[in-house]
Each structure stands twice: as C-alpha cells, then as structure tokens.
C-alpha cells in the first residue's frame, strides 16, 4: 500500500528523518511509535504532502505520491481543531468538499456518519456549543468522510472518555475490516498491542524497529523463564532472588544461559514441584522504553 524508501528530511537546526525505509501492507493497522520529537510528525506530514522530503521516495499503490492522492488519505493530526463558529453540518460539508467530494456526495455521506455516531441532532449546532467528546467525534468524521484507503491517525484517543474511545476503536476496526490501511501513531502501548498488526519505531530520526508485533516481541525475548515452585525438595541457591508469596510458592526467574527450556525444566524438577514455567514475553511498553534508553547514549 505505502512504500517509503530512504527518506531524508533536515530542518535548519536538526535532522528529522535519516534514511527511513518503511513498507505498510494493505489492510493492516500499522503502529508508528517513537518518543516525542523522534520524527513521526515529519514523516506523517511528508506522506500527507504537507511538506516535502529532501530525498527519498514515497509510493502509494506502487506509484509515486501525487496531489491526486490527497483523496486517498485521511489524516487526523495530534493537534487538531475545528472552526468554532461554524455548524457541525457546514464544517463537515466543507472538509469533505476540500477532499474532493461533490456537493451531493458530501451531503449524503455526512448524513450517514452523523447518524452512525449518534450526533445527528447536533448538526445545526456550532462547534463552540459542543462538548469536547462530541467535537472529537465530528473531527473523526471529517477524517474518514471521503472513505480514504489510507488512514493516518495521530493519537486518535486523546481527549476521549473510555466510552467514546471504545466507539472510535470499533470504528477503526470496522474500517480495517473493509480494507482500509491504518497508520496509528500513539504513545499508548496498550492500544498498540490491542489494535496493531505491525509496528515500526522511529527514534532520533532513524527507524530502529520494524516488524509484526509477534516478530518484534520474539526478537526482544530475554530468553528468561518465570518459575513458581512449591514443596521444595532442597534449598534453592542464594543468587536466585526468590520471592515467597502467601501460597508458600517460591517465585523467581532464570535465564536459559545456553540451556534448552526442557533442560532447565529438568533441573528445576530436582528442587521441587513446578507449578509454573513460562517464557517471559516483553510488553510493547517494555520494548519501547528499552529501545529508547538503548539509543539514548549512542
């Protein structure tokens, strides 16, 4: 769907992107991660043709990005706003027409979406009279109204209460089911794990991580097992850092250190009854923090 090759962008005082390659597969939710100032917004702005890259290419459906592709993309920026004095209806018609819909097309679509998100009764209200959550819904509609093939969402859940966040999450999943490709840029790792199929991480202008959630997690496996034993047969070695809980279970974790999991399990059986033997899988949050710290001191 989207292919980015050796993308570079520098501002007068710093580099925003350095040789970034990315492939966003069709119909997936692609998590774009990275701390503040990493270059995500620059990348998103280049895809949206708001700014131009210094070098490198962006291809959409195998063709170089052109002004006509604006219609294919829906963009919800992190910092967003609406005209306060305009009515919900006028506003949505305006934004959909700017995306290239004609008048009657726009009217029909706006009507459908207002009903869908249950704000049809508010269409003649000005944005300044709406609650924040309501305005966010209008904003979301304005992003998807022209049925983009590629949806770029920058922190889509900020400002939503849990109920509305759930509604938006379901809308995103529905759009994905219809074949829309979604780029999701967020700091909320729990929504990344929940929604994303594929992630890439940018830090200090470079891509430092790329792959499906499973691949990424696999590559960050610390080769450690968390273990729980009861009914000890002999004393555990001092250096195992054992925690003792109320159920009189002994909890600790051990690295494989070249052993296979089965070998380790066999060893453990000599110490007591194995109640739990589970490989440690890092959360996306842990990977995120680990990666940012690891590149901090380069």
């Amino acid at each position: 769907m989207l292919k980015i090759t050796r993308l570079n962008k520098a501002y007068s005082n710093h580099r925003a992107l350095t040789d970034v390659d990315l492939v966003v597969p069709q119909g997936m939710i692609f998590g774009l991660l990275g701390p503040n100032g990493a270059g995500k917004t620059t990348l998103i702005r280049i895809i949206n043709q708001i700014i131009e890259q210094d070098s490198g290419t962006v291809e959409i459906d195998g063709k170089s990005l052109s002004p006509d592709d604006i219609r294919k993309i829906g963009y919800l920026p992190e910092e967003r706003g609406l005209y306060k004095k305009m009515t919900v209806w006028d506003q949505l018609i305006y934004f959909s027409r700017l995306k290239g819909l004609d008048q009657s097309e726009a009217k029909g679509k706006v009507k459908i979406w207002l009903e869908k998100l249950e704000i049809g009764g508010w269409k003649e209200k000005k944005i300044e009279d709406l609650s924040k959550g309501m305005a966010q819904k209008v904003q979301f509609i304005s992003t998807v109204i022209h049925e983009p093939k590629l949806l770029i969402l920058d922190e889509p859940f900020s400002g939503f209460d849990p109920v509305n966040a759930e509604i938006i999450k379901n809308e995103i999943l529905e759009l994905k089911a219809k074949g829309t490709t979604v780029i999701l840029s967020t700091h909320r790792m729990e929504s990344v794990e929940l929604l994303c199929d594929h992630v890439a991480m940018i830090h200090k202008s470079r891509k430092i991580l790329d792959g499906t959630i499973r691949e990424v997690k696999n590559s960050f496996r610390p080769q450690e097992f968390s273990i729980s034993l009861i009914n000890l047969l002999q004393d555990l070695p001092q250096d195992w850092k054992v925690r003792h809980d109320e159920d009189r279970a002994f909890n600790f974790s051990l690295p494989l250190n070249g052993r296979s999991p089965n070998q380790l399990l066999k060893e453990l059986m000599e110490y007591g009854e194995v109640m739990e033997f589970k490989e440690k899988v890092p959360s996306m949050e842990e990977i995120f923090i680990h990666q940012v710290k690891a590149t901090q001191y380069e």
Partner: protein, 436 residues
C-alpha cells in the same frame, strides 16, 4: 482551482452571514453624515453663543478705521498703550491692537496683545483688513479717489472648466475635488487596515486552533492563503458596493428634495447648465450641485475598486504572512511595523503633498510606488490623471501584489506549521530563502 473557490466561499459566507457585518454595512453610510452633521451643528451653535469680543485699538497714525464684525468689535477709548494692556489683563478687553507711528510705505511694528493666543482666523482677519487699508491709503496718496476705488473693487470667483479630448467641458471645483480625493484616500486606508486585520485574525485563528494542519493535508498552503485573501476581499467589495448604492440613493433623495425647494430659476439652471454658465451670479448651492453633477463618478468608483483591490491584495498578503508567523494576535505587533509605516507615509503624503499639489513630483511618485499608490492616487483621481500615469501606476501595483503574495506565500507555508517559537526577522528571512 476548485479548492481555492471552496475556501473563498467559506471565508465570504462566514463573514457576510454575521449580524455585525450587516449592521456595520448599513449604519456606516449613516454614521459619517451624522458625525459631520454634529460637527457642523456644534460649530454653528458655538458661533451663535459666542459673546462679542471687544478689541481696543490705538492707532497713532490716525489712518485706520477697523470695521467691526459679528465676532469682534473695535473701540478706541484711550490713548495710552500701557493702560490698554492693563485693560486686557483685567479682562475688560479681549485684545489690544497697537498701530505705532510708521511710514505708510513701510508698515512695521504693528502688535496684538492678548491673554490667550489669538486664533488664526482673527490674525488673518486683522492682517487683511490692515493690508487693504494700507493699500487704499497708498493708492489715495497716488491720487486715486476712494469712491473710484470702491467702484473698482470686485469679487471674483473663477469657475474651473476642464476640456475633455472630444471637446466636452466639465466644471470643476477644487474644494469638491479635494473632498473626493480626501474621502476616497481615507476609505482605502481604512479598508486596507480593517480587512487586512481580518485576514491576519483569520490566519491566526486557523493556526492557533490547529485547523490548519487538517486544511493543508487537503490543499496547498498557498491555495489556502489566496482563498482567504480573496474571500475577505470579496466581503470588502460587497460592503463598498452596498455603500455606493445606499449613498447614491440617499444623495438622489437629498438633491431631489433640495431641488424642489430651490427657486424656479435655479432649478432650471441646474437642468440646463449652459444657461447657468451664462448667468455667473447663480447661487453657491446650485454651483456645487452642478459641480457634483459634472464629476465622473463612474470613473472614480471604477478606479477606487481597482486601487482598493490592488492595495488590499498587496497588503493583505503581508497581513497573512504576519498572521502565519505568530501564535497569538499580541505577538503580531513587532511585525506590524513594516506594514504600518508605508500606509502611514501614504496617508500623510495624501494630506501634505497630494491633495495640495496633485501634479507635483512628490505626488507623482507617491502615486506610482505600489506601497503608497492606492491611497495617493485616490487623492489625484478627481483632479484628472493622464492615462499613461494611471496605466503605469496600476501596472506597478499589479507587479507589487504579485511580489508580496509570492513573498508572503513563502513565509506562510512554513509559519502556519510552526508552534511555540517566537520568530524574528532573521528567521522570517530564512523561511523566505529556504526552498521548503
């Protein structure tokens, strides 16, 4: 192109639909005459209420007799200047005019004493009265009889007539031309400021509410800027045209009413200008009405629209650039300076040079340089401007706004996406030079 039109449409409708627009548009043509009416009323009632001012005159030559007017009375009750000064100090007299012994061929040493500074009109009244007396006296000394002098003295007022290319004659009046130039110039000045500010506010609104990020993902920043400038300009034009219609209707009504009240003869003169020319002693009102009828309002309105649009586009782009560079209206002040200065220069130039001497070199250049021409040319237009000068000035103005629009576009496209940094002129210069 289609997208620019959408932006124009939004900017236009968002403003024209506002109640404040309707009120301002309908009330302004009424407010201006109302304010002028109030001034006239105050001036008239002040004159009526003014007590007669008594001025003591000591004339050691014995030649001058000062005629009293409605405002000033002249007396000669004493002969001692010191005593006269005392009377002024004690408030018995408004002033004291002292004419010492002097050669009539070399009048020197005339003094006026007063507690406050005498008004300009009093001084010129005294000066012209004395001047006439001295001249009369000198003529008398050369042997001309005062009764002959009286017979000779005539009131002359020149009727200025310009000849058109095809020989048609047009009656002019410097005062009316002045008034038209004055009004048109000031109107353009106000329009540029009011609507330029609206552009700036609009840009800042879109920037600070972050709508702009969504907008520029749908269209180019330059399209957005141009659409906004043109849309708001259309609002200004709408307002102006409504005013023209309103004022035109009002004027027709007022002259209609006046025409009915005028004596039959004058009304006929109005209807038939040739007859009026034949009888030069027709009343002043009829003269002014005739002059107004002689003015080519269509040409003035058309030129006004051209220069309004040109000046508005030129400055509008700059206002947009300033709006894009700052985060809040309060930060805009530092960049307003280079916009305000040429406008004020044009405004001052209008009064100091253009309206005084419409065809002087300074007036010419003020009406050629695009930054000042929209205001300066308005001061000249009613006096008549050669076609080539108009064409050159308009051509330069077009080049001027193309340049400022290009310049503003460079600042705008970067400025609208910048938050939190307070730009300086150095940074703006960097934006202009950067290719991206």
């Amino acid at each position: 192109m289609n997208k620019i039109f959408l932006v124009i449409q939004r900017e236009y409708l968002a403003r024209v639909k506002k109640k404040s627009f309707l009120i301002a548009t309908l009330l302004t043509p009424l407010i201006f005459p109302a304010i002028m009416g109030i001034f006239v009323w105050i001036a008239v009632s002040e004159r009526e209420n003014q007590s007669l001012r008594i001025i003591e005159v000591i004339d050691e030559t014995g030649l001058f007799f000062m005629e009293s007017s409605e405002q000033y009375a002249f007396t000669s009750s004493i002969n001692d200047p010191e005593e006269a000064k005392k009377m002024v100090q004690e408030g018995e007299r408004y002033g004291f005019l002292y004419i010492p012994k002097m050669e009539i061929s070399n009048p020197k040493g005339i003094q006026f004493f007063g507690i406050e500074n005498p008004s300009m009109s009093l001084m010129s009244y005294l000066e012209s009265a004395l001047k006439r007396k001295i001249e009369d006296q000198r003529l008398y000394d050369k042997g001309i009889d005062p009764t002959v002098l009286k017979e000779i003295r005539t009131q002359v007022s020149i009727q200025s007539v310009t000849l058109g290319e095809s020989g048609e004659e047009k009656i002019n009046d410097a005062t009316v031309n002045y008034a038209i130039g004055f009004l048109a110039g000031i109107l353009i000045y106000i329009f540029i400021f009011v609507y330029g500010n609206q552009i700036m506010q609009g840009v800042i609104e879109e920037k600070s509410s972050r709508i702009v990020e969504i907008l520029v993902s749908s269209l180019k920043p330059f399209q957005l800027m141009l659409g906004k400038i043109v849309g708001i300009g259309a609002v200004g034009l709408t307002q102006f045209l409504i005013w023209v219609v309103l004022i035109g209707t009002l004027t027709t009504l007022v002259t209609g009413v006046l025409g009915m009240q005028m004596p039959q003869q004058q009304a006929m003169e109005l209807a038939n200008p040739e007859m009026a020319q034949a009888t030069p002693d027709s009343s002043e009102l009829a003269d002014i009405l005739m002059v107004i009828q002689g003015i080519d309002f269509v040409a003035i309105v058309v030129n006004f629209i051209i220069y309004f649009l040109g000046g508005y586009l030129l400055y509008g782009a700059l206002f947009a650039a300033v709006g894009s560079a700052v985060d809040a209206p309060s930060d805009a002040q530092q960049f307003m300076f280079p916009i305000t200065i040429p406008l004020i220069v044009a405004y001052m130039g209008l009064f100091v040079f253009v309206l005084q001497e419409p065809n002087s070199t300074t007036s010419f250049w003020l009406s050629m340089v695009p930054l000042t021409s929209p205001i300066a040319m308005m001061g000249r237009i009613s006096y008549g401007v050669p076609f080539w000068e108009l064409a050159l000035s308009i051509g330069l103005l077009v080049l001027g706004f193309l340049f400022t629009t290009w310049l503003a576009g460079k600042i705008y496209r970067i400025g609208i996406l910048m938050h939190g940094t307070k730009p300086t002129y150095k940074i703006l210069w960097k934006w202009i030079r950067s290719s991206q």
